[in-house]
Symmetry: C2
Subunit: 367 residues, 2 copies
């Protein structure tokens, strides 16, 4: 491996929000610009993506916007899904998973489910398990304060309070592939490690976690007073960040990259009330991660984290790829722009706006 040029192979970002309409046109091409070949697309449009017709149409739209990106698609877990739909969508290869949002915890999650009782969805999970689809969990309990018994839930402990529900799902569906998305706490890392402690063959992994680029960089101080860094789950304490970084560079195959890049127009971030939750990291996704791996002297582990482990967990085959291009990390210093604007007038502030980065991604195209 050269110090200035590192092969990353078929990179993947297993948690991507590209919205629809004009925002989708702006954001979808940034997946590849940010160094990502395979993107797992979240279904939290308005209304949520819950039908075969919509997910197929959505994928077609995205494919036109970015012909060399391989899109993995998902349904939004809701009462509108049926086991029959799961079987059909899986047999057609229309979706690779189903995303579960607890109601009310983040952007467009109002149609989500009650995380205190998943049993109503067990027929869906059974169908998913049978079809080897992935259950993507937004792992937070909704906040409850002013509780008299002291068992408060707030943005800091919302993820930790969710972890028992994750463990129970795994117990009830031991073969269901589950991802705890964008995990943010040392407690979550420990839970994932505990579940996998007896795994010797990576093919046996059923419960994994994605880690975002921004949670490798941020702590609570960074979003206090900086809505550009406000997202759900919120970035936590320095000790949590250390646990995330350690997991990311650990070489453990149940931790891999999902950016949770969540674009919002600047006017929805630069507000004194009701700031939209989400960090837009797509445009420099791999570079943000490389920055942390470089600081940890772990660039040799980067390919595992942003390619191999995600590809393996989802079972992505070479034949599934719309492009065989390989990503190559190259050393180059540049400054993240303060904003990006498209021809339709949408302006966004990218993560780490104004900060220097030291790595970029080039594409090696196959003949």
């Amino acid at each position: 491996m050269s110090l200035n040029r590192i092969d990353l192979g078929v990179t993947c970002d297993m948690h991507v929000h590209v919205r629809d309409g004009a925002m989708c046109e702006l954001v979808t091409p940034t997946i590849r610009e940010g160094g990502v070949s395979v993107a797992y697309i979240m279904p939290n449009l308005q209304p949520p993506v819950t039908t075969l017709e919509r997910v197929v149409a959505y994928k077609e739209t995205l494919q036109k916007l970015s012909p060399k990106t391989t899109f993995l698609m998902s349904f939004y877990l809701s009462r509108e899904l049926t086991p029959e739909l799961i079987h059909k969508a899986a047999s057609l290869g229309a979706v690779q998973g189903v995303k579960c949002y607890p109601a009310g915890v983040t952007t467009n999650s109002a149609a989500g489910v009650d995380p205190n009782d998943f049993t109503g969805f067990y027929p869906i999970f059974k169908a998913m398990e049978e079809n080897n689809l992935v259950l993507n969990l937004h792992g937070e309990k909704p906040s409850v304060s002013n509780s008299k018994d002291g068992d408060d839930i707030h943005v800091l402990n919302a993820e930790a309070k969710f972890l028992p529900a994750l463990a129970k799902l795994h117990t009830d569906f031991p073969n269901l592939k589950i991802i705890l998305e964008h995990c943010t706490t040392a407690a979550a890392i420990q839970t994932i490690e505990e579940i996998n402690k007896d795994i010797t063959d990576p093919a046996d992994i059923r419960v994994a976690a994605t880690i975002t680029a921004h949670h490798l960089h941020l702590i609570i101080d960074d979003w206090a007073g900086n809505p550009i860094n406000f997202c759900k789950p919120v970035a936590k304490l320095p000790s949590d960040r250390r646990a995330l970084v350690e997991a990311a560079v650990s070489g453990k195959p149940y931790f891999f990259f999902g950016s949770d890049s969540a674009p919002h127009p600047l006017e929805n971030k630069a507000r004194h009330i009701g700031v939209s939750a989400g960090v837009f990291s797509q445009r420099f996704a791999i570079a943000y991660v490389a920055e942390v791996f470089d600081q940890q002297n772990a660039l040799d582990k980067l390919k595992d984290f942003v390619s191999t482990f995600g590809i393996n967990f989802y079972g992505v085959k070479s034949a599934d790829l719309v492009s065989q291009d390989k990503a190559v990390l190259v050393r180059r210093e540049y400054t993240v722009p303060e904003t990006v604007t498209d021809h339709k007038g949408i302006t966004m502030a990218p993560f780490m706006a104004g900060h220097k980065l030291h790595w970029d991604v080039q594409w090696e195209t196959s003949a």
Copy 2:
């Protein structure tokens, strides 16, 4: 006491920011409009107030803007102060205290001190102790992350990490009057109670704490995504809020009201990066507090919290008051405006903008 009309006497807000220039003109009259008779004024102008000439001129400016408000004044603790200045200012009654800002923790605190070592200021504290002046502490340690030993300091534990320094100051200057300003944690409440546990005569109290209106209302979830509620120290967890509310309604004479109302133009709050820290609560200061006391069925304790205890700790005498008017809490439902704007074009969003309040203050003027 009528259920709809409660005498509050000479109300006081012992932590007030009124800035200078146009903002000062807008904000200073809101002290009385918000139901406050006596205001302790913070010295964190740019440059900080550190001379006799400036504090006298500042008080004259404020008095013209609000003739019926009694202003208590303060110096900004810095290397520019001398024991001689403290003696002189105290003998003239020009200041009632000195505010200590740890460097870098909040608005205009760059000129502050290193909270890890106060000993350089001990001659100042000795002079203050001799003159019965109050030391007002912003009780936070500056954040330190990426520390290798795990002893991180961040916005959530910055106050708790400061408490040993408070205890040491009290040990070293047992007769110095000290206020832990705008305390936000159960840990701080416990420390103040521990220090005062053997006090039987309120006149012997040397260490007190102020509690703001907004920290009686807010937790971390409320400022996550709502910069209008972002302040330093940040609002903490539900359990911390419960401890603050319990302290406020406790009738313990070492807990009293200081709003820390900190006005910022709306454009400095509605930003995606670098939001100014501070909540503007002056205009409805007493009403915000009354709302909480009402919820706690503790309106009979409100006068102690917003008048008696602060007046007693500072030793404010009737002869010191520029107005003998008495504040009366009256039941009246109204909605906090979304913004307030003055004739010079400054716009601000008040705390709880758009929310209903149920109490207002009227003035009973003396002949």
